[in-house]
């Protein structure tokens, strides 16, 4: 069964590009444009991995990450944070809150794809 990826970002074009990239390598994709929608989507259908933007309306990425990690059932969902604020603090904070990896915007598409595949154990 195809693994499922949740894309969380409020920039439609970035979501579009990530969706294209993920689908191209064969993953199922869900989309959420803000923090609340992201948690809702996780409840609806538990994803294997979340690409999570930090700056989101309503509930920011850190909060979403923390909330997911607080639930033992969701413990093994992999989380990769995306941020356009390239400061070290954000990076540290994301990891401290339980993110598995961190990608800075603008990203190299191949790198993101490789990271996702590696994390899901799909690299060949």
């Amino acid at each position: 069964m195809a693994k499922n990826i949740l894309l969380v970002d409020d920039e439609p074009n970035i979501v579009l590009s990530l969706e294209f990239l993920m689908k191209r390598v064969g993953y199922g994709v869900q989309i959420a444009a803000d923090g609340d929608a992201a948690l809702e989507a996780v409840k609806q259908q538990r994803p294997d991995l979340i690409l999570l933007d930090v700056s989101l309306p309503k509930r920011d990425g850190f909060n979403v990450c923390q909330t997911i990690r607080a639930n033992p059932e969701w413990n093994d969902i992999r989380i990769i944070m995306l941020t356009a604020k390239g400061r070290d603090v954000e990076y540290e904070k994301g990891l401290a809150l339980g993110a598995d990896d961190y990608v800075t915007k603008p990203f190299a598409t191949q790198e993101v794809v490789d990271k996702v595949r590696a994390m899901l154990g799909d690299d060949t």
Binding site: S17, D34, P57, K58, A84, K85, K105, P106, F107
Partner: protein, 924 residues
Amino acid sequence: MLRDSVILLVGFAYLGVLFGIAYFGDKRADAHRSIISNPYIFTLSIAVYCTAWTFYGSVGRAANSGVGFLPIYLGPTLMAALWWFLLRKIIRIAKTQRITSIADFIGSRYGKSAMLGGLVAVIAVVGIMPYISLQLKAISTSYIVLQNYPDLVMPYESSASALWEDTTLYVALLLAAFTILFGTRHIDATERHEGMVAAIAFESLVKLLAFLAVGVFVTFGLFSGPADLFTRAAAVPELASLMSFEGMSGGYASWLSLTFLSMMAIMFLPRQFQVAVVENVNEDHIRKAAWLFPLYLLIINLFVLPIALGGHLLFPSHTFSVDPDTYVLTVPMAERQEGLTLFVFLGGLSAATGMVIVATIALSTMVCNDLVMPVLLRIKALALTERKDVSSLLLGIRRGTIIVVLLLGYLYFRLIGESYALVTIGLVSFAAAAQFAPAILLGIFWKGASRRGAMAGLSTGFVVWAYTLLLPGFAKSGWLPVDFVEQGLFGIELLKPYALFGLTGLDPIAHAVFWSMLVNVGLLIGVSLFSRQSAIEQIQAAFFVDAFRTSNQEGQARFWHGSTTVSDLKGLVGRFMGAARANAEFATYARRRGVDLDEQGSADPGLVNFAERVLAGAIGAASARVMVSSVVKGEALSIEGVMQILDETSQVMEYSRQLEQKSRELEAATAELRAANKRLQELDRMKDEFVSTVSHELRTPLTSIRAFSEILRSDPDLPKHKRQEFLEIVVKETERLTRLINQVLDLAKIEARHVEWHMEDVDLRQIIEDAVAAVSQLFNERKVALKSQLPPVAAIVNADRDRMIQVVINLLSNAAKFCEPKLGRVEVSLVANQDKLRVAVVDNGPGIPSDQAKHIFEKFHQVADQQMSKPRGTGLGLAITKLIVEHHGGKIWVESTLGQGSKFLFLLPALQTIAARAASSRNH
């Protein structure tokens, strides 16, 4: 029949009793069992205020002007209410500084100035002279009246006597001898005279009882009670007026000045200062005295009016010529009351001698300590500092002074006495004593009062007093040409002593009080404000003003720099006070400090300071300073040395003042720096925030561009429509990026004021039309309707045309972006009212939540929860718009309800409408 011998016998016997009391008082004091240490004796001693003037003069004044005698007692009553606050402070100061007289007090306050002390002594002697003559006159008058008993003979009928036949001269000499025995028996010449105080208190009791006895005799003996007396007096027209306030001469100014004078007199007459301050044993006594003394005054005044009225009724002015000043004596005489008459004579004698004794002792201390000693100390030929025993010299000076003062009083009596009533003579002295008030009162509450200010105020006040009161008196008696009184000095009208500078309508006393106090207070304050104080002045000022705060004297010790030995100091004190007394004082000091002085070779500053204070008790502060400085410096007599120390101290104080100044400046600078640093940090934080936000905003479109570029590159086989869609996104995001960069630069330029504004008078209608034209393409694309409503007349503003167009375009394109296609309606309107032009852009878009409305003009603020499909702005457009509007002196805001569209408005100041222009051009 009262013969001379009887009168003299009774008189001398009475003086003998007084002497006995004084002797007893001194003996008890030496045994440290004071008989005067209670509030009642203290109050009675203050009652030395009531002199022969009260005893005889009040009735005289009441007989002439009714209740006019009252202000003299009203003043002290008012002052007594302030005693706890005022007198206690003065006493506290006097005790810690060992003040010996009022001259010493003033001199000491203003930097232990010998000059000022001397001036006060001179003023006191000259000023009190009339007062003493008044007492002499009273005693001799009463004696002469009594001699002729039972005939009523007025003294002026027999006044043409030769000098050696003049009773008054003998009275004066007798009193001098008596005072010398009283006040200067002691070898140790210290400041306190317990025996004298006891005798004075006794005298106050005697005069009170004598006066009451006459009063009771008149009221209940001659008439049947006060009701009867007043009814009968009211029947006589000329007496009726005495019982009402209408009969008062001089009006309110007179009452006011008399009340003021007597308020000052009760505190600052040298004899009042002596009994109330110098002789005070315990400052707690003030509490009781503050109501007991007014009570004493009330009682002694109870029968003034009845005696005056009774006298008038008894001696109608057309049948008898009896001086009302003698009613107290003559009424009992006329009724042949021998015993009562003699008692009254003793009462009057008490009143007069009490005043003379205390006043002359006070004056002699003053003259000796503050006038003669400082001068003698400066005459090196006398080598006074070398003399073994100076205490006998001190007593000699004091005794001489007593004789001189009494003879001066007698002289004044011979020259002037006959031409004045008792009361007026007394008031002249009151006015002189009042001159001390500003220097003392300001001196104990205002540190800024300076020696130069006090000198200027006192001396000028004294000169004005002499010119307006003393000299006219001499002129009236024929000892000076009367011209200057009647025509003014040198014939200058403005210098008339009773109408100085054209001030008329006041009686001479009120007039003199007004001018002398005006120049006195004025100069004291004025000169003090503009003169610098020396170091010692500042030290003394602090001790006086902060009397209740700094009870210890250690602070003064820092003044002494040099060194001396204990034995030298003891020797010095011994020369003035006797070796035994000096030993005792030093032993007390050693015991209190717990030190053994015999072991100490050199004296510490505390001991030097102590010696100075002990010495000050004997010879006054100024002289004591000079004496101690001579020993401490180890030189014969070094005023220069003292001056040098003063200079050094003032230099040190100057340095420390400069240092303080510098450190204050530094503190201020530090505070400023700290504030600036905080502002910088805040700016830094804001800049950091801005950079981070800009970076975020730049990275977002870059992310899409890079992602799709890489997709397009790595996937050449993409279907054509996908390829087209992705390329479209890349182009759009690139445009967004460009716009963002432009706006960031634009904003930065406006904020940094690097923008050039091309201000000109433009028609706002034209600007709106241009903007509408520019956005019409956008509106067409988005299928949003745009309407504009503009007024028919031009709306002129002074503005940068392109920037204003930018503003309107920004608002319009924002509106277009947020409206639904096809349903969207946007309207731009312009309203001109008075001096403001208002532009409104209304849309029917989604509206803005009210909590966001305020922040919408902030940088990078974007309204949250927009639908994903909405095109995003840069977040800088409204921030720039706001900056532009505000630069034009305008204001921008938004009114919006969620779901019902938004209304953006801005106001600009209108320059002039075409209509107004046209109107004004027609008028010209």
